[in-house]
């Protein structure tokens, strides 16, 4: 059996999980590594909870089973909590600090845990919380939050900064390469400052 490094990217439909996973996949090609991934398509995209699996170095199936992800990258704090059981013991969570409140909270009065409650419940995992929106705006566009998150998570990935930069420039629209590279750098620097 060959080992892979398993990354789960989670968020809310429309937040750019697929672009983020494409960047990781492309970075694997830059590094000449095999890679497998699985995505949510179809109706689940309509503002629903979405998950993307990427197995860096993977040669078998694309799915990551619960309890085995090396890293979880989450674009929404609530989604980090929803998927945390996928994390292996000793794994790392890198998550945005923002919460998109589910519509059911307003229409049906569903209870949504607060930011502080969620952080408390994630305390026993190695978890880093990132101001993705703030850094994306600093980089030039709120739309670059997904790339900020990749930058922040990059320290935990077995892919070099060069490979990830090259992958970003291949995957994002040509006009936005500079902004996205800046977003990546800001995300990456954010974690360097933390540690």
């Amino acid at each position: 059996m060959r080992e892979s490094f398993d990354v789960l990217i989670v968020g809310v439909g429309g937040q750019g999980t697929i672009l983020a996973s494409n960047i990781l996949g492309e970075a694997c090609l830059v590094a000449d590594l095999p890679v497998r991934g699985a995505e949510t398509h179809g109706m689940a995209q309509r503002g629903g909870s979405v998950e993307t699996h990427i197995r860096i170095g993977g040669v078998y199936g694309p799915l990551i089973s619960p309890g085995t992800a090396d890293v979880i990258i989450s674009f929404d704090l609530l989604e980090a909590l929803r998927y945390r059981h996928f994390l292996k013991s000793g794994g790392t969570i890198v998550t945005s600090d923002a919460i998109v409140i589910p519509t059911s909270a307003f229409t049906a009065g569903a209870e949504v845990p607060t930011q502080a409650e969620i952080m408390g419940r994630l305390e026993d995992a190695s978890c880093t919380v990132v101001d993705a929106a703030g850094l994306a705006v600093e980089a030039g566009t709120i739309l670059a939050q997904n790339v900020v998150m990749l930058g922040a998570a990059s320290h935990a990935l077995p892919l070099s900064e060069d490979a990830l930069r090259e992958a970003i420039s291949r995957c994002v629209p040509q006009k936005t390469v500079e902004t996205n590279i800046r977003a990546f750098e800001l995300g990456r620097a954010f974690l360097e400052e933390m540690s």
Binding site: M1, R2, E3, F5, V12, G13, S21, N22, G25, A27, C28, L29, V30, A31, D32, L33, P34, V35, R36, G37, A38, E39, H41, G42, M43, A44, Q45, R46, G47, G48, S49, G57, Y60, G61, P62, L63, S65, P66, G67, T68, L78, L81, R82, R84, H85, S89, I101, P102, T103, S104, A105, F106, T107, A110, P158, L159, S160, D162, A163, E166
Partner: protein, 609 residues
């Protein structure tokens, strides 16, 4: 590990590297479509359906296209078009999701009798766990039923090579070939080595041969015999061609196929034999020879126990485990953890075990929703207002999400909203019946239901949710859109004219954003007898945005808002509620419906009062 790539790898734990010169990270469906280009496809048709849609989408967006491609109005129509193309000697593909094959089952079963001259591949994508489907049927059963070959890839890379081979196989045996990927192939991504698209395209020429193409009883009896005579050679071909492989390593063995084989390969222990089924029919003698060499066999496959039934038939003294004795589930999809559990349960130690983990509790669900500004939501709102005691048959599309709004009582298959509605209307049930159906679904199989309802005098209201496109599967054009699959302008059909021509005596058209108009039309329909049709029209909000249509977002005046919550109950994801006041977020696309709902007049277009 080459020096040039070392700089890209921080932690060189991986045992081997890619070697392809043109390796790309691609979606399974893109790889499958690209394989068709490499196989020099001449004709492609299909009807959208998750997880199959991206195959035709990839083909229709090719710039230098030397083949014909269409979105057809339904799967039977798509199938017959592609079949006929293959009868003229050219290479032809038809795509659909598994339940679409039910719609195309009529030509499918007899196309095996007529056979083909050009390569004909039927792609039917299965959806274990029903991620986006109404059932978990197994297309391999159809291939066995029709007595045609079936290819079942275990990975994206295998899907690539199998699809390339499928056309040649079809030509060699003169039969349609069923290509069966599952969701985890179609919507997986993988490193892949797409080849150069071929340029050797053919031109169709129909050769008259009534003995083959006119299936009157006299001809079809002969054709059936010929079809049966082809079967043994097919089974042998798949062993000799390396589609079905067996590796004997010990006294116990695992047999697997499809994506499950990838999971099994990751977890199989040394000394356990492994056989992989990539194509059907399975050669019974070959299978028996493998099974007989083992004391115990575990069969691992998704959906129906197709391989397992063949193994049980072949086994004499060998103990066989699988779904049929409870080691694997009969429903849902498999995963590495599920396969490891099955191995453990059947006495096969997996190389990896998975921790038992429990998801966190108390997290509000985040299901998919109708978009902010979706016209369907306003129509459902109006229906519920007017028909408080109504019965609401619905159909397949984004609007099935109307279940969250309490306005979807039935959904079974494409087009069945109208027929379920007329069935209930004729049953003696006295409450009013109001069915909802999208434009693409109406054109797919809704028209016949309406014709029947009018002909037989049903008392019901049919609301066509006309958003001008096939939205849920990724915004494919349909005859209502005014453009073909390849972007050529076509005359948009008139839904109203279709409804009137099948005899509907009352057909009204309303904007789906015009709440007052919707309520009026629905009330009028309620007071009339017979079949009433309302066309509620508004382009899909996503498609409209892509076309450059921008509306000013709406805002809530907090001074005027009474906090009654009626706008929140509307269920639009752009409306939130804090401190007893409603707030409209940046998701707003300016449909204005909430402004009509607000009894206090607190909602108005941004920037003006």
């Amino acid at each position: 590990m080459g020096g040039a790539v070392d700089q890209y790898i921080i932690n060189p734990v991986f045992p081997y590297l890619l070697s392809g010169m043109n390796t790309r990270y691609m979606l399974g469906n893109e790889v499958i479509a690209h394989a068709c280009l490499e196989a020099e496809i001449d004709f492609a048709s299909g009807y959208p359906g998750t997880p199959s849609s991206e195959v035709i989408d990839y083909l229709r967006h090719q710039k230098d296209r030397e083949f014909y491609v269409e979105w057809s109005v339904n799967e039977k129509v798509a199938f017959e078009n592609a079949l006929a193309a293959a009868w003229t000697g050219i290479r032809s593909l038809v795509t659909m999701k598994h339940v679409g094959l039910n719609v195309a089952a009529d030509p499918l079963l007899t196309s095996a009798y007529t056979g083909v001259t050009g390569g004909f591949v039927i792609l039917s994508a299965d959806d274990p766990y029903a991620h986006s489907s109404q059932n978990e049927q197994d297309s391999r059963r159809y291939a066995l039923f029709a007595k045609i070959p079936c290819l079942d890839p275990a990975s994206v890379r295998e899907a690539h090579s199998m699809m390339k081979a499928a056309f040649a196989i079809s030509e060699e045996v003169g039969l349609p070939v069923l290509f069966r990927p599952t969701t985890r192939i179609c919507h997986s991504k993988s490193d892949a080595d797409p080849g150069v698209p071929g340029t050797g395209h053919r031109t169709g020429a129909f050769v008259r041969n009534p003995q083959q193409y006119v299936v009157i009883p006299k001809h079809t009896r002969v054709l059936h015999k010929k079809l049966n005579e082809k079967q043994p050679a097919l089974a042998k071909m798949f062993v000799e061609g390396g589609f079905n492989t067996a590796d004997v390593r010990g006294k116990t063995g695992i047999i697997s196929g499809g994506i499950a084989a990838s999971y099994a390969e990751e977890l199989i222990s040394e000394g356990v034999s492994f056989a992989k089924i990539g194509a059907y029919p399975i050669d019974a003698a070959w299978l028996k020879a493998f099974v007989d060499q083992h004391e115990t066999i575990l069969v691992i496959e998704e959906l129906s126990p197709v391989i397992e039934e063949a193994v049980r038939m072949a086994a004499t003294t060998t103990v066989v485990h699988g779904k049929m004795d409870g080691h694997l589930p009969m429903e849902g999809e498999l995963s590495p953890a599920a396969v490891a559990q099955a191995m453990t349960s059947a006495g096969f130690a997996p190389t990896k075990t998975y921790p038992e983990v429990v998801p966190e509790e108390g997290i509000p669900a985040r299901p998919p929703l109708l978009c902010a500004g979706c016209g369907h939501r306003a129509v459902f709102y109006a229906i519920k207002k007017v028909f408080k005691d109504g019965i609401f048959p619905s159909d397949i599309g984004c609007y099935t999400l109307g279940i969250q709004l309490g306005v979807v009582d039935t959904t079974i298959c494409m087009g069945a909203s109208v027929t379920v509605g007329s069935g209930i209307a004729h049953s003696g049930e006295t409450r009013p019946v109001i069915c909802t159906i999208g434009d693409s679904t109406f054109l797919h199989t809704g028209i016949q239901g309406l014709l029947n309802a009018v002909y037989n005098g049903a008392n019901m209201t049919v609301v066509i949710l006309d958003n001008r496109i096939t939205a849920m599967t990724g915004h494919q054009p349909n005859p209502n859109t005014g453009v073909t699959a390849t972007g050529v302008a076509s005359p948009p059909i008139s839904l109203e004219a279709i409804c009137r021509s099948v005899g509907a005596p009352w057909v009204e058209t309303v904007s789906a954003y015009d709440l007052t108009g919707l309520l009026y039309a629905l009330k009028t329909a309620k007071d009339r007898e017979g079949v009433k049709v309302i066309v509620a029209r508004q382009p899909c909000v996503i498609a409209a945005r892509r076309e450059g249509i921008r509306r000013k977002p709406y805002v809530v005046d907090p001074e005027v808002c009474t906090g009654c919550g009626l706008c929140v109950k509307f269920g639009c994801p752009a409306i939130e509620f804090y401190n007893e006041k409603a707030v409209i977020t940046s998701l707003c696309s300016g449909c204005s419906v909430c402004a009509d709902i607000c009894p206090a007049g607190a909602i108005h277009k941004g920037g003006a009062k």
